[in-house]
């Protein structure tokens, strides 16, 4: 019997040995089958726990009717969204919440072990993804998924080998290969087969825009900035995208290329100059040159990204030149590799006209408020502005007005005013700190030389009216002074010969309509000095006048250019005015726009007031003629540092 038992045992063992490899092979195959999804069969995606294996009947991923009634992307989103819940950022507990989270996360490629609630934060991305994949999704297809199914244990989902291999499914296909990437069995919402992540959609559209440029009032050599931004209206962030900010310099009176167009698209790069991207210069034209001023390569997140540039030297360009900034990005969208160019935003180069006072001081009972221009000339930083050759006295603050010819060859701007304010009264305050102007209170300020009173006292007066050529109403310097009186008077100009002078006293407005010039001849004695004195309530000088050799004394306003209409521009009053003689006026309107050119001409003045020695000598002659020396004023000056 022992032999018989042994035979039976051997037979049974042989049987077992024959069958067992088949069983083991099946388990191994099942394990391999599941592992492609990141977990072995029967191990939960979320927790990694063993869920009981094939002997335990689990549940569908979503309870009936699951996705049976889902036939398009909107229904899928609504279904999964409802099951997921996400109140307070938490996925619904239980079977359907777990199943929906599983679908969202595995479709986006999250690794096993990802918390369920991540599905809530990723839900919008999932929505964008399934919408993006809608053209490549079949919501009703008989899909052969190869016998790999899923089951829910209510708080987790695990993969199972299945004898069923084909079922009605929702299948997401690769648009390039046509192969299934992700599939869900409709009647149970079980993801089936080997699940592959669906690439995030890459729908994005970039719109460049120049928000503003600053400053908008500029002159040659100014440094400008531009605030720009890129708006990504897409569903996803862009990939690394190149961007360039371009400065366009446009000839006066012309327009920049594409200035009147909103965002434009082109294969042409914005500007190759100064390191811009190759393949053309979109913003270059016969009337405009372009220059890259900033560039980069970066991801543009959804929404708005700011890109700013500052301290861009616009160059020493002529007045009227237009400076524009534009922003370009490339590729502009996931479906378009072209550049998107923003509308150029422009401003016009103006100027800061300057005034120079030669041979004397300037005394002002209010403030002196001027400006400086900083620019690079021949490679050197230079500052140009308005100045007086000697002293600058003011009751109010002196801002940026130089004294002692202090602006010659300086690179110190207004914030270093002390560098060129050696004859500014005062240039220190009581505590010894730098402070400019406010020399003395108005009551104690230097008195006006009373020219009008002097000549008004002369009895020899003869009226003139209408228009007059000053050369025709002179008197000899060796003769008694003749004062020509008038109400309103137009001086058409005139040459003042050697040895002759003219004095005009008008109760109204004197309009100077032509140049008044002293004879340019050799002078042998003080009596030969020609001189003109114009005393009036107001003195208006026409734009065509470039030279006034005369004293200008106005109880009201002296206007260096009055005959223009509209706003003053660099094209109006654009010739230099030179006044040779003292100027005394209650209000001085400096309307000339000449000068302030380029290069070394950057400091050229619009008006130059020159108190020459001839005026002093002529004054001496007049005082001698009256046999008296008249002290006009005296004042004790404070110390100068």
């Amino acid at each position: 019997m022992k032999l018989q038992l042994k035979r039976l045992t051997l037979s049974f063992a042989a049987f077992v040995m024959m069958v067992s490899p088949l069983v083991l092979f099946a388990e191994q195959a099942a394990a391999d089958m599941c592992t492609v999804n990141g977990r072995d069969c029967w191990y939960g995606y979320f927790t990694g726990r063993y869920d009981g294996g094939p002997g335990v009947r689990q549940h569908n991923v979503i309870s009936p009717p699951a996705l049976l009634n889902v036939n398009n992307v909107d229904q899928l989103i609504a279904n999964i969204g409802t099951h997921l819940g996400c109140a307070g950022g938490r996925a619904n507990a239980g079977q359907n919440g777990t199943g929906a989270a599983f679908i969202v996360l595995t479709m986006l490629g999250y690794a096993p072990g990802t918390p369920k609630n991540t599905a809530c934060t990723a839900f919008s991305e999932w929505v964008a993804t399934v919408r993006y994949w809608a053209p490549y999704t079949n919501y009703n297809v008989f899909y052969n998924f190869g016998g790999l199914n899923t089951r829910s244990s209510y708080d987790d989902v695990a993969w199972y080998p299945s004898a069923q291999t084909t079922a009605w499914s929702i299948v997401f296909y690769s648009p390039t290969t046509g192969l299934p990437l992700y599939a869900i069995k409709k009647d149970c919402a079980n993801p089936v087969g080997r699940l592959q992540r669906l690439d995030r959609p890459r729908n994005y559209t970039l719109t460049p825009n120049v928000q503003n440029i600053s400053p908008t009032q500029i002159e040659a050599g100014a440094k400008m900035g531009a605030a720009t931004r890129v708006t990504n209206n897409g569903e996803v962030n862009s990939p690394a995208t190149q961007w360039e900010i371009t400065m366009i310099t446009v000839q006066p009176g012309k327009k920049a290329p594409h200035e009147d167009e909103n965002v434009t698209f082109s294969a042409t790069a914005p500007c190759q100059a100064s390191g811009g991207g190759p393949s053309g210069s979109y913003f270059q034209s016969a009337d405009a040159t372009c220059k890259n001023v900033s560039k980069g390569n970066q991801v543009f997140n959804r929404g708005t990204t700011s890109l700013n540039v500052s301290d861009v030297d616009i160059g020493d360009v002529p007045v009227g030149t237009r400076i524009c900034f534009t922003l370009s990005v490339q590729p502009r969208a996931n479906v378009d590799t072209r550049w998107a160019h923003s509308k150029p935003i422009c401003t016009t180069v103006g100027k800061k006209p300057k005034v120079q006072i030669w041979g004397g001081d300037v005394a002002v009972r209010g403030q002196i408020n001027t400006s400086t221009s900083s620019k690079t000339v021949d490679g050197a930083n230079r500052v140009f502005g308005s100045w007086v050759e000697y002293g600058a006295f003011s009751v109010g603050v002196n801002s940026c007005f130089a004294s002692g010819s202090g602006l010659v060859n300086t690179s110190s701007a207004c914030d270093n005013q002390s560098d060129w304010s050696k004859l500014t009264f005062a240039n220190k305050n009581a505590s010894g700190a730098d402070s400019f102007g406010q020399y003395v209170a108005a009551d104690g300020f230097r008195r006006l030389p009373n020219v009008a009173s002097f000549f008004g006292a002369i009895q020899n007066k003869q009226p003139v009216g209408g228009s007059v050529d000053l050369g025709s109403v002179t008197f000899g310097n060796n003769e008694p002074i003749v004062v020509r009186t008038a109400g309103n008077l137009t001086i058409t100009g005139g040459g003042i010969p050697i040895g002759r002078s003219v004095v005009i006293m008008a109760t109204g407005t004197v309009t100077i309509d032509g140049n008044i010039t002293y004879a340019d001849s050799a002078i042998g004695q003080i009596q030969d000095i020609p001189q003109a004195v114009i005393i009036a309530q107001n003195i208006n000088i026409k734009d065509s006048v470039s030279r006034v050799d005369a004293w200008l004394v106005a109880s009201g306003t002296t206007n260096t250019c009055y005959n223009f209409t509209g706003n003053l521009t660099s094209n109006k009053c654009s010739s230099v005015l030179e006044v040779n003689g003292p100027v005394v006026s209650n209000k001085l309107v400096l309307n000339r726009t000449a000068g302030s050119g380029t290069g070394e001409q950057s400091g050229d003045p619009a008006e130059r007031f020159n108190l020459r020695p001839d005026a002093h000598l002529w004054s001496l002659l007049q005082s001698q003629g009256s046999n008296k020396a008249q002290t006009v004023y005296s004042v004790e000056l404070p110390p100068r540092f």
């Binding site: 019997m1 018989q4 038992l5 035979r7 039976l8 037979s11 049974f12 042989a14 049987f15 024959m18 069958v19 094939p54 002997g55 009947r57 689990q58 549940h59 569908n60 309870s63 009936p64 009717p65 699951a66 049976l68 490549y136 079949n138 297809v141 008989f142 899909y143 052969n144 190869g146 089951r151 829910s152 299945s162 004898a163 069923q164 291999t165 084909t166 079922a167 009605w168 299948v171 296909y173 690769s174 290969t177 046509g178 192969l179 299934p180 009647d187 149970c188």
Partner: protein
């Protein structure tokens, strides 16, 4: 524990029968598991690439690929053109390809044929029911879902919810009768 000669012979016979059955199964598998053949036209067989028995997964991949690019007729032609298109597995694939292409009557004909010959796997009952539903043969669909439900109840192959799913589908279909 004493075994008689008769018992030994019986046990040995059982083992031999089992072994014989196993060998027969392997031979059948090796021959492609054919029970009946409904080959397509000979011209189709020449026109489409042929897939050997051990390359059936490649064939399925190709079918999926064609369906993924919307070439449903191409998938059908590929399956119909296989030399072994009459095999049970191939017939099931062909039925699913017909169904995916919207040709429900052709798909249902295959299922019915397999079912009548007793060769329709139980796991395919729900697919047959689904096709019958789409072919508007609602009573057949109901009946088939009921059979699928019975199978689900008796098999570990299905989840507990699947019975409820079939009940839902049956209830919906009954509304259409």
């Amino acid at each position: 524990m004493k075994l008689t000669k008769k018992r030994i012979i019986i046990i040995s016979a059982i083992v031999l029968v089992l072994l014989g059955g196993l060998v027969t199964f392997w031979v059948w598998q090796a021959q492609g598991g054919r029970f009946f053949v409904t080959p397509g036209s000979s011209s189709k067989k020449k026109d489409v690439p042929q897939y050997a028995e051990d390359k059936q997964q490649d064939l399925i991949t190709e079918v999926n690929k064609k369906q993924g690019t919307g070439d449903y007729q191409g998938a059908i032609d590929l399956l119909e053109g296989q030399q072994n298109s009459g095999d049970e597995k191939m017939q099931l694939l062909l039925a699913s390809a017909y169904a995916s292409a919207g040709k429900m009557k052709e798909a249902l004909a295959i299922y019915k044929k397999l079912d009548e010959s007793g060769k329709l796997p139980d796991t395919e009952l729900e697919n047959m029911a689904a096709v019958a539903e789409r072919a508007k043969e609602y009573q057949l669909a109901i009946d088939t879902y009921k059979r699928a439900k019975e199978y689900a109840a008796s098999s570990n192959e299905y989840s507990d919810d699947q019975i409820a799913t079939y009940d839902y589908q049956i209830a919906e279909l009954e509304k259409k009768l």
